[in-house]
């Protein structure tokens, strides 16, 4: 089938790719760009494993056509760490046992990152709500919620320090 040239901006880098219009964003990320962090779980918009950020919003790359997101900023789990330093969300999941088998973790990290960008001081209920459509079959969620609250605290402290330094 005819391929088309598309331009995709992923983790700050622009790629030119020849793809068929029916190719899912998830498959372009995994197959064409080798970014295998985003996972295919249910393949039916029910598990959240394929979550990436599109212009900062958590979206499911398994029901997104790559060609529809040419003008957007796409962030995958590979783009969370900056300059060799883990994102506070990643660090917290590591220290608080937020990951077990790890398959759902990239999706959780992305949804959590989007939540804390908007609201760095969420209540437990808000965390539960925001993560409602990310499914984990190992942890029982408790450690995930603890990780998110710990990450939130870390982010708040970091911001406070940044403000103090800039004064």
């Amino acid at each position: 089938m005819t391929k088309e040239l598309i331009r995709l901006k992923v983790n700050g880098e622009t790629h030119e790719l020849a793809i068929a219009p029916n190719k899912l964003l998830l498959d372009v990320l995994r197959e064409d760009l080798g970014l295998t962090g985003s996972k295919r779980g249910c393949d039916d918009s029910s598990c959240g494993c394929c979550t990436v950020l599109i212009d900062g919003m958590p979206m499911l790359s398994c029901v997104a056509l790559a060609t529809s997101y040419q003008d957007a900023e796409i962030t995958t789990v590979e783009g969370l760490a900056r300059d060799g330093e883990l994102d506070p969300v990643q660090e917290a999941f590591m220290s608080w046992g937020g990951a077990q088998c790890g398959f759902c973790t990239p999706g959780f990290l992305m949804t959590t990152h989007a939540l804390l960008e908007k609201n760095p001081d969420p209540t437990l209920d808000q965390v539960r709500e925001a993560l409602a459509s990310n499914i984990c079959r190992c942890t029982g969620y408790t450690q995930i919620y603890e990780s998110v609250l710990a990450a939130a605290q870390k982010i708040r402290e970091k911001r406070k320090n940044e403000i103090a330094i800039s004064k």
Partner: protein
Amino acid sequence: MRPFEYGNPSTVKQAISLLGSDWEQAAVLAGGTDLISLMKDYIDTPKRVVNIKSISALRGASEVNGGLRLGATTTFEDLFENPAPLRDFPSLRAAIDGIYSAQMRSMGTVGGDLLQRPRCWYYRNGFGLLALDSKGQSLVPHGDNRYHAIFGNAGPAYFVSPSSLAPPLVALGATLRIQGPKGERELPVAELFRIPRHTGEREHTIQPKEILTEILLPASARRLRNATYEVRERHFMDWPLATASVALRMEGRRVRQARVVLGQVAPIPWRAEGAERELAGKTLDEAVATRAGEAATVGAHPLSKNGYKVQLVRVAVKRALLAAIA
């Protein structure tokens, strides 16, 4: 997914020119949360996909003539983040808040919500909207019909209308703007929906060459006391089991006119006219709300596994009414 040609128009006019005279020719793509799923499963196999998310005029909420205009590609998140335009419409806000997934909120659009296809598992597994077996008999009456219709189910359709936004919009008297090759038409939201009579008919009256552009709530709807009550099996990631949306024209505590619309219990948003009659002229209190809930169930015809929905209707109507006057 079947290969297709992709169109990315920037105006509604261009978009319409890319659509075809039947559903196989082309499909409109908004957030894609439903369409792409159906295409992945080969339930929908359009030869062309027309993305309308690049048409900026279709997105956004604004006040128009004292009423509310919602562009068709406005996302749930747009409204969730900035609910001010919904201030007089708690019934609509409750329906939007009920769609609980962060990802669905950022992708799903209000137009796509109204036009999403039924969740009936026979339909989703390739047996068609009417769920027919090889002899042309419906699989639903003797099959697993726990989530199917209890009203409007004399056949041949048994699925339920899945849209959470439709019942409040019907109750509030909202209308739709639809554009096609011959121009624009406006129709009440209720008339978007129909019970299909044969396999060639869809459950929506929108035509293959048309695009839904706007949802309009009239200024007069702001004076209606309104509420939605949803009963859900799971809080998250699922459609409700039954919902009731009410919109009441009041005179003090007395109901002058009521609209009661049920969701997830019929192939269309279901007007509970018995409940509406029960309410007219009454002073609304718990006893009247209970009687209206009872009246809403008259004419229900549960299938073998969904009798529980009758009780859900009773309760949802009562609670929506009490919420509307709280």
